[in-house]
């Protein structure tokens, strides 16, 4: 277990060795209404966790709860061994939202977008200095966009825009990336470039929580899978255990064996049944 990560080389702050994210009996929602309840989840340094589940199951609510973007209604949430409701360093949790946040009404370059990720490190009035610009340039290089710094972001492809948002989180020296549907709307070739970029970050010790309804090209980098369904965590284990459970569940609910079962399973990306994958209609 490492004590520092290469993305945070110049802070010199010793990093706590405890869990990155720790939820106990946590409930999150909007207003008084809890959408996910009773979540126990501990993410340790270096883990690559996929949070899977059908649309509306509560996985986005769980993610936004971790990010402090909705109401924390019950239980405890700790980030880097600190109470999340009082922590002052939220930028260590690097949020990578869906790319549509880049389609703004004012043009901006990739570098300008990534530089906003640096702001939490500058205090109220600080300005970007030469070292900050270096961090921004390095973050763009890390996601393979070093040559596109001056490119206007809306002219980049979907996968490239996603990598700009990853670079923005890296510029804030995030120790854990929380990604919302990183493969949605990204074609297969770009998904592989994205997976390569993430694999490179994994080597550097970045922890990841990837919220998605389809694993796609990211499957090969995962160390753990958490399934959220109907507002609860219904599975938590390794990809291997997940495969086994999925086969068992499939077996239970399908007493009559069909020759097509194996083929079905391969074609179904996340869970054997249900509205897991919006594109799942085509698999039936």
């Amino acid at each position: 277990m490492r004590t520092t990560t290469p993305t945070t080389p110049d802070t010199g702050v010793p990093r706590a060795a405890g869990p990155v994210i720790e939820l106990h009996g946590a409930a999150f929602g909007y207003g008084e209404h809890a959408v996910v309840t009773d979540v126990d989840l501990t993410v340790r340094r270096g883990e690559i966790v996929a949070v899977l589940g059908p649309n509306g199951a509560g996985k986005s609510t769980l993610m936004k709860g971790i990010l402090g973007l909705n109401e924390h209604l019950a239980g405890t949430i700790r980030l880097f061994d600190e109470d999340a409701d009082v922590t002052r360093d939220r930028a260590r949790v690097g949020y990578v939202p869906q790319r549509h946040t880049l389609s703004a009404s004012i043009l901006a370059t990739a570098e300008e977008i990534v530089a906003t990720g640096r702001l939490p490190r500058l205090g109220w009035l600080g300005r970007l200095k030469a070292t900050d610009r270096q961090v921004v340039a390095r973050a763009l290089e890390l996601v393979g966009l070093g040559d596109r710094a001056a490119t206007e972001v809306t002219t980049l492809s979907g996968g490239q825009q996603r990598r700009v948002l990853i670079a923005r989180a890296l510029a804030g020296q995030a120790d854990v990336l929380v990604m919302d549907e990183p493969t949605a709307g990204v074609d297969a070739a770009s998904q592989h470039v994205l997976a390569d970029v993430l694999a490179r970050l994994v080597e550097r010790g970045v922890t990841m929580v990837i919220v998605t309804h389809e694993l796609g090209a990211l499957e090969r980098i995962l160390t753990r899978i958490v399934v959220v369904d109907a507002g609860h965590v219904t599975f938590d284990g390794t990809p291997h255990q997940y495969e086994a459970t999925r086969a068992a569940v499939h077996h239970d609910h399908d007493a009559h064996h069909h020759d097509s079962e194996l083929a079905d399973e391969e074609a179904t990306p996340v869970l054997p049944r249900g509205p897991v994958d919006p594109s799942g209609d085509g698999h039936a």
Partner: protein, 335 residues
């Protein structure tokens, strides 16, 4: 010409126009970015109520307008932050309540003539007093200094408010400060541009700037240039034309926008005809794609099958046949 520059009221109007042309696009770019382009218009409505109170009580209408607009600005941001679904209805009540109260109160004021009302709504070169010039100068300096210090944060919040919240930027305070700057800009503009037209000077120069620029900072520079040119130019020609200065300024800004739109459109057509696109290119070039990287002006070409490919929007352009450099330089590019 000489007469225009030496006339007292014209000197004051030109200084006021210079200040408005400078600060309105500076604040407006963040409003456009947040898709709140018309909020300045609403603050102008409320400022009219402040003007009316000033006229009735015999105080300077500039300060009462400032108070009314700033109070409205803070109220608007707090309403928006509470995220109530009927927030836009609440804004409607504030805005129209403001202008209606303004019209009613002004009619009871000693100086409440219809001509007076028109000059507040649509601007006039005759109304800027010497004391106003000093107040406008002070307010404009405050706006410029605040934007200079805070613009990266305004940009971050306007670009992606949810992200800004997640990483702990002070989103609500920044939004309130931007709203107060908007209200202050409305007041700086109330003499020469008018309360109903100031919003145009926050938006139209930025619309033109977006056509000319490829980045936020250059977009803002172009917007300020267009804002300055139309504000000062509008005041200038409204004297010989004997037209309301606010209307003249905005017509000028819109003309600049139209000419820019046509010009950039034609330029794009010509460039499109000239540049050749690499056909059927589904490979993505990058520092690690294996193709030789060749620096080419402001971008990098990649040597691909004997052709130089440069990324352009969603495709790759052909930038001629390959001319590999020495390997040392290539190493540098790839590093």
């Amino acid at each position: 010409m000489h007469e225009i520059l030496t006339t007292d009221f014209m000197q004051r109007a030109l200084i006021a126009a210079l200040l408005v042309g400078l600060v309105a696009p500076m604040v407006g770019i963040f409003l456009v970015q947040r898709r709140l382009s018309l909020i300045g218009d609403g603050m102008g409505h409320v400022a009219l109520a402040g003007v009316a109170v000033g006229l009735v009580t015999g105080r300077g209408p500039v300060l009462t307008a400032l108070v009314a607009a700033v109070v409205a600005a803070v109220a608007i941001e707090l309403l928006r932050a509470r995220g109530r679904t009927n927030a836009d209805v609440a804004l409607g009540v504030i805005f129209y309540g403001g202008i209606a109260a303004g019209v009613v109160i002004i009619s009871k004021a000693p100086e409440g003539t219809p001509a007076n009302l028109m000059s507040y709504l649509f601007g006039s070169i005759l109304t800027t007093r010497t004391s106003d010039v000093w107040i406008f100068l002070a307010l404009a300096l405050v706006i410029m200094a605040t934007v200079w210090v805070l613009w990266p944060r305004f940009f971050a919040v306007a670009n992606d408010e949810e992200y800004a919240r997640a990483v702990g930027l002070p989103v609500l305070p920044l939004n309130i400060i931007l709203a107060v700057l908007t209200a202050t800009t409305v007041v700086v503009a109330m003499r020469v541009v008018g309360l109903l037209l100031i919003s145009a000077l926050m938006i139209v120069p930025n619309a033109a700037g977006q056509l000319l620029a490829r980045s936020f900072t250059t977009g803002l520079r172009w917007a300020i240039a267009v804002g300055l040119a139309s504000a000062v130019g509008g005041v200038f020609i409204s004297y010989p034309l004997d037209t309301p200065s606010g209307g003249t300024i905005v017509v000028l800004a819109v003309l600049v926008y139209i000419v820019t739109a046509i010009g950039t459109g034609v330029a794009r057509r010509i460039r499109q005809r000239r540049h050749s696109i690499a056909e059927g290119h589904d490979h993505e070039h990058g520092p690690e794609c294996g193709h030789e990287a060749i620096p080419h002006g402001d971008h990098v070409d990649y040597l691909h099958g004997g052709h130089r490919h440069a990324a352009h929007q969603g495709h790759y352009d052909e930038h001629g046949a390959g001319s590999p450099r020495t390997s040392g330089q290539d190493e540098e590019v790839r590093a």
